[in-house]
Symmetry: C2
Subunit: 186 residues, 2 copies
DNA sequence: GTCTATAAGCAGATAGAC
DNA sequence: GTCTATCTGCTTATAGAC
């Protein structure tokens, strides 16, 4: 892997785990075993440019990942269970959720940087689009599908936060059992 | 209000909005119109001690607030609607959610400071206890009540995050309409 | 109990050699 | 394209006057 890709890969992980301000440039440098010269060659506008690039990388990763899962399963409910199972496995293996979420960045940066807020907003919209498409295939109206998709996104993000706070994967497992109730026609 | 209470009040607000690292000591000083001398007199162990104190203050505020609402309404569903309505009003008035949430602190500090993670974990548990008690009164079994309470907490926290990201109160309103589906016997 | 002045260290960023 | 050395400014925290 070339240096730039490596920087993005490692920085993305760090940002997702510790947030933007929680990660120093020098920490990224150490993890990559490179020096400032290399980093500022690839990202002339520094740390914030790197963050935006990382968010785009997260975008790619999450979107393709979810799409693959959602194509693999017949119904939204099956797909969701498989997806959450993957998150649980990820958490139990690594102690954190490295993919799928960027809430640490959102809650920290939403009030501080408009471009970052916007990028995050678009990413959430994209994820929900995948849910909505599948839900419409399941037979829901477009409006209902949109509401359910939002509920799915919110509860999964919230559950991930509870997993990190309580240091167990239980919250995600519980969500997985309760979500089917949301997938019934109201 | 005495100086210490004022520091706690203002710092709590700032921490909730911008996270821990997002707020500098000097920013707190400016907002309080005091100087370092005063702050370090009241909090000899500096910024982290102040954060813990603020989390305890948030604990008090959230717990009493939710308890009052939950005593006012007959069913969990009514209470939840009233609570979310209050959050929406708060958001539309101030542009942020100043009470009720501390997700910015959680996602940033969970991996960095055990004492902070623990304090947050206890706070979430306390909130869920209130929901569980009401749900049992509604007729749910203790296990089911616990699952639903977790789902409520996760979806509200997630929805707050989406509100901040999208800069609209819609997500909370949508959650308010979808949550009743979770409150039906499965 | 609150002030001013200052310390010590780290942040992000730049310049120029190789 | 990557290195080293350096700069500026900001961070938290301390010391001591009032």
């Amino acid at each position: 892997m070339d240096t730039k890709s490596q920087i993005i890969y490692i920085a993305t992980n760090l940002f997702q785990q510790k947030g933007y301000k929680g990660v120093g440039v020098s920490e990224i440098l150490n993890a990559c075993t490179i020096t400032k010269g290399a980093l500022y060659h690839h990202f002339p506008n520094g740390k914030e440019e790197l963050l935006i690039t990382c968010l785009e990388s997260i975008d790619q990763a999450i979107t393709t990942d979810i799409e693959v899962i959602f194509k693999q399963y017949q119904t939204t409910q099956e797909a969701l269970c498989a997806m959450i199972e993957k998150l649980v496995a990820n958490f139990e293996r690594e102690g954190t959720i490295s993919g799928y979420t960027f809430s640490s960045i959102v809650s920290e940066m939403a009030s501080l940087s408009e471009p970052v807020r916007n990028t995050c907003s678009n990413l959430y919209a994209k994820i929900q689009e995948i849910y909505i498409k599948k839900l419409v295939e399941d037979g829901f109206s477009k409006d209902t599908a949109a509401s359910i998709a939002l509920m799915i996104t919110a509860s999964i993000e919230g559950a991930i936060m509870l997993c990190l706070t309580d240091n167990t994967s239980e919250p995600l497992k519980v969500i997985s059992h309760v979500l089917p109730n949301v997938l019934k026609e109201s």
